[in-house]
Symmetry: C2
């Protein structure tokens, strides 16, 4: 059975934003005020719900609910989009019996179209009706777009004062894929925690999970991760030890969810774990890992199960990271492939063939004597990805 944090209720409804008879509206409601934190897209074009969320969280670090819709992104919709977003919070607040400013909005779907406001009123009524009967899984399903499976992760952790529970859910099948706009993640917990500690925890975990993966290198206008902590467990996390335990638990949840995003990458068949170590700094290591993980040539080779290390090395070479080519050591699946500027003299194609068949492929690059490191999860690039994205709207 799924571990569900105390003091939350869930609602879903089929509003018909894109398709009929499919739940596309979800609500996560906390029975009492919850400490709220969020991390958002860095794209300069930010969707209306992102702008509204940021505004609400700047005013108060406390929220009661998250409302999420799929099918319409409400991005690049100007002032009308902002007004629509605020109006949806008014509508939902009536049925959820919380104040509009206590609801954090999130949207995902096609960019540029205005919200179909006529559908919201009847949908919110259904949403209110389902509150308490729907499950977290129902909400995770309602926010799917091109996702092929819903993404949930739960944990409990024993703190000094007792047990607290975490539940995370997310959607995303292209990181970060603007038109399907795109990565949404919610983490709810019943711990009692200070807003500042909660915010720092979320940002620490997001950097090591949702911000450490790539499907296609595109960053959406709607990316949002929100974390709520409502204190319903009556367990307070305050000591250094408790906060560390809680953070480790949140990190596990976030990393499990982000692994699922890459596993469910549009058309993807592989999850590459690209670990760069020995860089002059962490950002340098990240630069190198991202150049490799976003290289179409590396990604197509992964799809073809081709141990084409030359493409990995060449992507590293153009990454902008600062290193000496003679220092670089590359291993694939634990097998030494390249060092001192040239390939290992083994029959690499034969040695590497079995590990290229796995869904998970480990690529380890030590690029020097430094302490900088970064690990990126990356999907492959497949014919199916092209099909999905060439035909998405037409």
């Amino acid at each position: 059975m799924t571990i569900v944090p105390k003091g939350y209720r869930f609602g879903v409804a089929a509003a018909g934003f894109k398709k009929a008879d499919r739940n596309d509206l979800g609500l996560i409601l906390s029975i009492g005020p919850a400490v709220a934190a969020g991390v958002f897209t860095t794209n300069r074009f930010q969707a209306a719900p992102v702008l509204v969320c940021k505004e609400l969280l700047a005013e108060s670090p406390v929220a009661r609910a998250i409302v999420v819709n799929s099918g319409q992104a409400n991005a690049c919709t100007g002032d009308e989009g902002l007004a629509n977003c605020r109006a949806t919070l008014e509508i939902v607040s009536e049925f959820a019996r919380v104040r509009p400013e206590e609801i954090l909005p999130a949207s995902t779907g096609v960019i540029g179209a205005q919200l179909k406001m006529d559908l919201w009123a009847s949908a919110a009524l259904k949403l209110g009706g389902s509150l308490g009967r729907a499950t977290a899984m129902d909400v995770a399903k309602a926010m799917m777009t091109t996702d092929s499976f819903p993404k949930l992760s739960t944990r409990s952790v024993q703190l000094e004062g007792g047990e607290v529970r975490l539940l995370g859910m997310c959607k995303g099948a292209g990181m970060i894929c603007p038109t399907m706009a795109t990565m949404l993640g919610f983490v709810i917990c019943d711990v009692d925690v200070e807003p500042k500690a909660w915010r720092e925890m979320l940002s620490f975990c997001a950097d090591r999970s949702f911000n450490a993966l790539t499907v296609d290198g595109d960053t959406s206008t709607n990316d949002t991760v929100i974390a709520l902590a409502n204190g319903a467990s009556r367990v307070r996390a305050e000591s250094k030890a408790d906060l560390a335990l809680l953070r480790a638990c949140m990190l596990e949840v976030c990393q499990e969810l982000s692994y699922r995003i890459v596993q469910d990458a549009e058309g993807g068949t592989k999850v590459a774990h690209i670990a760069v170590t020995g860089a002059k700094s962490h950002p340098q290591a990240e630069l190198a890992a991202r150049a490799i993980g976003n290289s179409p040539l590396v990604k197509t080779a992964l799809f073809g199960c081709d141990p084409n290390w030359g493409r990995i090395v060449a992507a590293l070479g153009r990454s902008g990271a600062d290193f000496n080519p003679m220092d670089v050591v590359l291993k694939i699946g634990g097998i030494l492939v390249f060092e001192k500027g040239q390939p290992s003299p083994e029959d690499l194609d034969a040695l590497l063939a079995p590990c290229m068949r796995h869904q998970d492929v480990k690529i380890e690059l030590c690029i020097g004597p430094g302490n900088g490191e970064f690990t990126l999860l990356a999907s492959d690039l497949t014919k199916r990805y092209v099909e999905i994205n060439a035909d998405y709207r037409t």
Copy 2:
């Protein structure tokens, strides 16, 4: 008939580096010393022929010949690769009757394998035998890898002292695609010109042609453009006016060749002309244009003939370029699509459908009141691209 600059001879041979019975070795020989300039890959892993070329050009700005092979890149081959590269110059020099240090080498093919030195001696003999009988087109064909057609461009220009002729050739079907390593370009001319002026001219033209296109954003270990000017026309380019005319002519040749590369992009069906204006600086405009031209989502939409402007705007938003979203004006095929933060109220899908069918698609973005501008040629991303690159070695 092709315009061929005076005082050059061409040779080709089938060495069997990758396939039998296909010319894979080419020689361009100047009858006298030619002023030589080169621009090279910025990848940190530089192929042996790139290192040798740079060394030779640093020693002397004069050369007699260019030797180019396809099938083997001689990249990531360590000290042995460098020694092999120098040995091939010795071998070729005997048959071409020029000194080894007067020959500039270029290679393209799979990374990581050592040159098949046993094949070079007999191939160089054939190369010598064909000298004078082969044409520039034969050399352009001999350096093809995944190219589907050879790429030649010629021009003549009237200077104060008389007519001079330029001929450019290149290979490349992924810019810049490491395993096929990748973009090679040669421009030969019979003008009499100073080395410094010639170098500056090449670098000016390369920045506005070969460095202003993208197929997959990958930069090869072997990219090389070499320009020779042998003075055989006995026309000297020295006055400002003559140098300007010559530069304009070279730019036309380089731009025609780089258009052909994008047109012949692996699996490509489209050439997008992405013109960014109004940026705070040229590098800012380039940042924006490259983010759009390299976005897999923009590229798959182009392939699908989908006027998905949301993806263009979202790629701009994450490009790192500094601009105000409200200033952005986007036109596709001359049609206003997006301004003041929202789409034009027209039926855009209907209006844009015809221009998405053309091979050439014009994307114009004005992102502010600045003077920075950059135009990038970009290919689309297709199922065929994935097929070619997933199956390249296997």
